[in-house]
Symmetry: C2
Subunit: 446 residues, 2 copies
Amino acid sequence: MSLTNASPADAAGAAKSASHILATLSADARNEALTVIHAGLTAARDDILAANARDLELAQQAAADGKLSQSLVSRLDLGRKGKFDDMLQGILDVRDLDDPVGKVTLRTRLDDGLDLERVTCPIGVLLIIFEARPEVIANIAALAVKSGNAAILKGGKESTESFVAIARVISAALDKTKVPNGAIQLVTTRDVIPQLLALDSHIDLVIPRGSNDLVRYIKNNTRIPVLGHADGLCAIYLEQSADPAMAADVIVDSKTHYPAACNSLETLLVQESALTTHLPAVAAALAAKGVELRCDAQSKAALARVPNLSVTDATEADYSTEFLNLTLAVKTVPSLAEAITHINTYGSHHTDCILTSSPEQAEQFMAAVDSSGVYWNASTRFADGTRYGFGTEVGISTNKIHSRGPVGLEGLMIYKYKIRGHGQMAASYGAGEGKKQFLHQRLPLE
Amino acid sequence: MSLTNASPADAAGAAKSASHILATLSADARNEALTVIHAGLTAARDDILAANARDLELAQQAAADGKLSQSLVSRLDLGRKGKFDDMLQGILDVRDLDDPVGKVTLRTRLDDGLDLERVTCPIGVLLIIFEARPEVIANIAALAVKSGNAAILKGGKESTESFVAIARVISAALDKTKVPNGAIQLVTTRDVIPQLLALDSHIDLVIPRGSNDLVRYIKNNTRIPVLGHADGLCAIYLEQSADPAMAADVIVDSKTHYPAACNSLETLLVQESALTTHLPAVAAALAAKGVELRCDAQSKAALARVPNLSVTDATEADYSTEFLNLTLAVKTVPSLAEAITHINTYGSHHTDCILTSSPEQAEQFMAAVDSSGVYWNASTRFADGTRYGFGTEVGISTNKIHSRGPVGLEGLMIYKYKIRGHGQMAASYGAGEGKKQFLHQRLPLE
């Protein structure tokens, strides 16, 4: 790893060169590097925590001066119970995942002695831009090495001392392995994000880890593909045939389990015919958890007799708002078609759910809603790489190409086509006398 | 299909709405639409050819005035032998491909009664920008309908009459099918490309079909992902152990089979130790086909005694030039490592080949060269969706994400995650007393 004061262009060039070597290493060589990084970080715990304490002191000062939020200070603290050990365990967890490199996904015999093979390979160079959380550097370095990608890391300035300490250890560790030192680049110089985002000839994918504002800024300022999501405006459609108790459970979980998460509920669409049968109990259950409702006129009227409710009039803007707190927008819709149109128009294509007893309504909803996750009778909070069983999560993508939804290691892979021949020429094939025909025989994937 | 004089934004909005319906149609409904389009175009042959003749007349006039190239006029002509029939057959060929929609690619039991499924689905709205060839409209409309994507088509102005005639037929045909009329939008108004490229909230993927300049312009002027390649700077590395006759065959085919194609050879890298053993015969074979060589000093010296050769001194720029004609840059390299570095530095990541008898050298080359196609002893001209057996070709991509190399229908697909549950809540799972654990049991894909 380079602790670079080099220019962003030099760092990116070095990462590109390293990526070409990294792409040829065996799974054993990559896994061994993760073992060595883990050992290095384990041995250097005291140094790293001392560096983190220096970051923390400055941050607490800044928070006292009102220049930094308390939540950022808390995310910065690597000394909190279990956090350092979790970081270490995460490296071993990534190491022990299936190797994503070199999987053959298509084999075709084009002709005798002319075989086509599609093989997974690393994308190349990742740029990871993240905010203060210092453990992200170890997590991302592990994902990059495991997947055979080089990575350029740019962290928030509040955790610079922690980053540098961790980076020194990773750098020293890589020197004992086959992974080239240049494969992980840490950029600590300030104000270089615009320069990095312009390096589309060397950087193949940007992964922002941080606030919605960070992601939105990055998406709007680069031609490099961005893996992630700016918004998570998830909706649930409550249909009249849903079991009322089940509906209240799922809606409360989706809204209140972790309101600041991108997969939390922000808009509840209620079928008109469920307003009196279902909504009052759901609203009471939400109110018991402290949720404030912003209702359209119809749903507000349906809740007029429910005691102890905090209900205000919804504005049009509420249906486009990711509240990230205990506020929920409620809207009445006549039927499934209008629910689908609302979600496809106002939503962020993240995760949306229908609550119904009707398989037909559920399947229609899941086919027509244009989101990365479409659920039937399950909390939107399940949208998560760990819950999906991916072993790790690179991020959650609302992109329409490459990878969508919770992204595991697969999202850091692309493929190449290999042809192994014996001197065949294209001119030998085609229509006409003496020309050969392609076999196009599908071969087993081994 | 709308023959729209509407604004680009309105056309894109209509396509987006139509895409949500199209995504829910069965394979039968989409295939039936292709049958009806085929029948409509068959019946309207005379009208379409008459419209094409009017385009052609104007184009021939413009060519006579020196305002248009003769090759563009030739590409415009739908009346050329076999061209109309090929266009018609192409629609049926696409119809008869496997349905790419709704393929289940992952199934995981998260818990009893809580199943996760990953299912292929259309990307959404495609923007296809193409130059004069009028048959492209039928080809793209067929690919879009087959893959369940809506499409906005913007063609070159020289073929406007042909486009409008074909579009009228497709529009009338779609009215008899379940595919919404708005699913295929033809934009005939001029100078709207910049406006279309700005509509990233409605358009999910841009596919340019035309010159390198068109592709480069589009890549540089939109945030929407672009599927394609601006350059095809393919290289062959001639290693000392290669069979000399085989080497000459493959190099001549790669260079001369169709020099204007993106998968044609532009740079020949010769191992130093093959300069005298291999290069003279290769050069003579190329010269017999009219190829002009641009050589570095070492390779030029090796060819000093070969008669009737057209050899000039290579400049540095020649190794970054896609000649697209019978010119070939030749460079001497000491060994495999330098060949790989040269290709990864100067190439366009399209298709590159090694000629060798050594499996070790070949595998190392194919692992380390960062291109969509990496070949061993086979012509670069095989890089083509039809030759790969994909049944159709959307384009050739040099992107590092989503799809790479020749792109078939799969490149127009993404996936979504469906969860079918029974009211499960995220809060029920995790560490601690009374919490449930995920099963993460892989299920068969049926």
